[in-house]
Amino acid sequence: MSNQEILEVKNLKVNFDVRSEGDMPWTKAKKLKAVNDVSFSLKAGETLGVVGESGCGKSTLARAIVKMVPAESGEVVWLGNDLLGMSSAEIRPYRKQIQMIFQDPLASLNPRMNIGEIIAEPLRTHYPKTPESDVQARVSDVMNKVGLLDNLMNRYPHEFSGGQCQRIGIARALILKPKLIICDEPVSALDVSIQAQVVNLLMDLQEEMDLALIFIAHDLSVVKHISTKIMVLYLGNMVELANSEDIYKAPSHPYTQALISAVPIPDPSVEKNKDLILIEGELPSPINPPSGCVFRTRCHKAQEVCANEKPDFKGLSKDHSVACHFHD
């Protein structure tokens, strides 16, 4: 089982139509390339970390995989079936295998339902004939699994702390025993101490249930802790994809290098003497991205060729690919 690729994303592109104020209805909308030509594959039990600054398309990528936003082109192959070509009825049986965890723990729970109902909802949706006693048993089982007491079942979301709410969200994602969980910045809204708890919980569950995770975050140290592979996105484009260790030891793309040098080291003397690579300037508009390499406007290595030619996404080794003309 463990060596089989369960998810393969090929050349995924997501565009949004953007109309500015005062445009006439017949004017052609501008295309915002939110995700541009992203490909990766994932095996059972693996974790793909996705990092990048805000607005680089991390969440859009996650939503495109589960068809919450329509993709322009590309393929999302789940256990040999292309999800993007399916109608909403055809995709339903696959929904129970892919679940999602969200950024804002409280907002992802319906305030009018108690948490027993919230956690049981996926079960009741996909197996409506399950007898009530079985549902209760499954719910309390999964609540114990995520470290919640099952006597809290009748309480409402506003009575819980952020960390507990995120555990409820995880319980809801787990109840159908999925094969893949997409975590959209699951810890960004939590305290650092709670972050560690939630991340460790996810890792324990992953080991126990042979889960694959797609873990989106902008905190590199969290991603390093949990991921087997890391993908760095910039303006919707993949700039680097490698094993977690390689990317920290030998980052090849100037953008990745800058990101990694920005991770604070919890030792003041080391931190003070560290070489910081600063990225200057603003993130360019994704409606009007730079020609050639998207990063060239802020890159310290940029030369003429970068403006004219878009660098290929080429493999340095088997598990390490980068999109740069002058990679290290």
Partner: protein, 308 residues
């Protein structure tokens, strides 16, 4: 796994929380509503009025259509309120007992108000929630229909309907019900647009919950607060509309009556020293409307504590 001495902690937690049942948002809201004096008193008065309209007939000496021939034509001298004659609220100009007629008018007016508002709430909520949730072109078309209906002068249409199809309570319902859901659907649509992008809706969609279930299970319950508030404000509006129509002489048909019809009769005879004919129905009308508005206010504060 996470909690080491789970058994022990579990036992403690069970002791701490008596039953483990949580306080839902509704229970919180009910508590806040009870703390609002004006709203609680209004609710009490309104319930008394409703109760009175059901129990009152058992104490009545005269029925609402029976004519007291002694009082007929000389209401100012004979038909004044008195316990002896059995006309507790006096009589109207034709010698009919005002006590029974006010009770009858109360029943009709409240029924028109509550039923009209119920129809408006159900149609408006489903229409607005569907339009807002589906979005895009469907939303555009559905909302333009509402705009078009809204631009038709409502009183004019209602009067035309009643004139063309004849005066009847049924027609009045259809007329009022047809038009009063429009505002409701707009409010609900706006609120739905707001809810639609919340993460719990997205979570339900990722899980594969059907659109219909998302609307009924996730969107509508979260709209109920604003719907409840708007409904309590809609009831007096509909009562007012019905009263106005009745005041014009187009509403309910004799010998049935309503607050508006009674007020009209009372206002017509005010120069003959029979002021009770105006004051009794007017008092019921005004007090009930005040109560509805106060309750609506109280509900809004209770259900939306942040916006006070």
């Amino acid at each position: 796994m996470i909690v080491g001495k789970k058994g022990k902690i579990k036992k403690m937690a069970e002791n701490l929380s008596e039953s483990g049942a949580g306080r839902s948002l509704w229970k919180d809201a009910r508590m806040r509503f009870m703390q609002n004096k004006a709203a609680t008193i209004s609710l009490f008065i309104l319930l008394s009025i409703v109760l009175f309209s059901f129990i009152g007939p058992y104490f009545a000496v005269w029925s609402y259509e029976q004519i007291d021939w002694n009082a007929m034509g000389s209401a100012a001298r004979v038909g004044m309120p008195s316990i002896e004659s059995g006309h507790f609220f006096g009589t109207d100009d034709l010698g009919r007992d005002l006590y029974s007629r006010v009770i009858q008018g109360t029943q009709i007016s409240l029924m028109v108000g509550v039923l009209g508002a119920t129809v408006a709430v159900i149609v408006g909520t489903l229409y607005g929630a569907t339009s807002g949730y589906l979005g895009g072109r469907t939303d555009q078309i559905m909302m333009r229909i509402v705009d078009i209906l809204m631009s038709i002068p409502y009183m004019f249409v209602l009067i035309l309907l009643l004139v063309v199809f004849g005066r009847s309570i049924g027609m009045l319902f259809i007329g009022i019900g047809l038009l009063s859901w429009l505002d409701m659907s707009r409010i609900v649509r706006g609120q739905t647009l707001n809810l639609k992008n919340k993460e719990f809706i997205e979570a339900a969609r990722v899980t594969g919950v059907s659109d219909f279930k998302i609307i009924t299970r996730h969107i509508v319950p979260n709209l109920l607060g604003i719907v409840a508030v708007y409904a309590t404000l809609l009831v007096p509006g509909i009562i007012l509309a019905e009263s106005f129509i009745s005041f014009l002489g187009l509403g309910v048909q004799e010998p049935s009556t309503s607050w508006g019809a009674l007020i009209k009769e009372g206002a017509g005879t005010i120069s003959y020293d029979t002021e009770w004919q105006l004051l009794f129905p007017l008092a019921f009308f005004v007090v009930s409307l005040f109560c509805f508005y106060f309750i609506g206010d109280g509900l809004r504060d209770a259900l939306d504590p942040k916006e006070r």
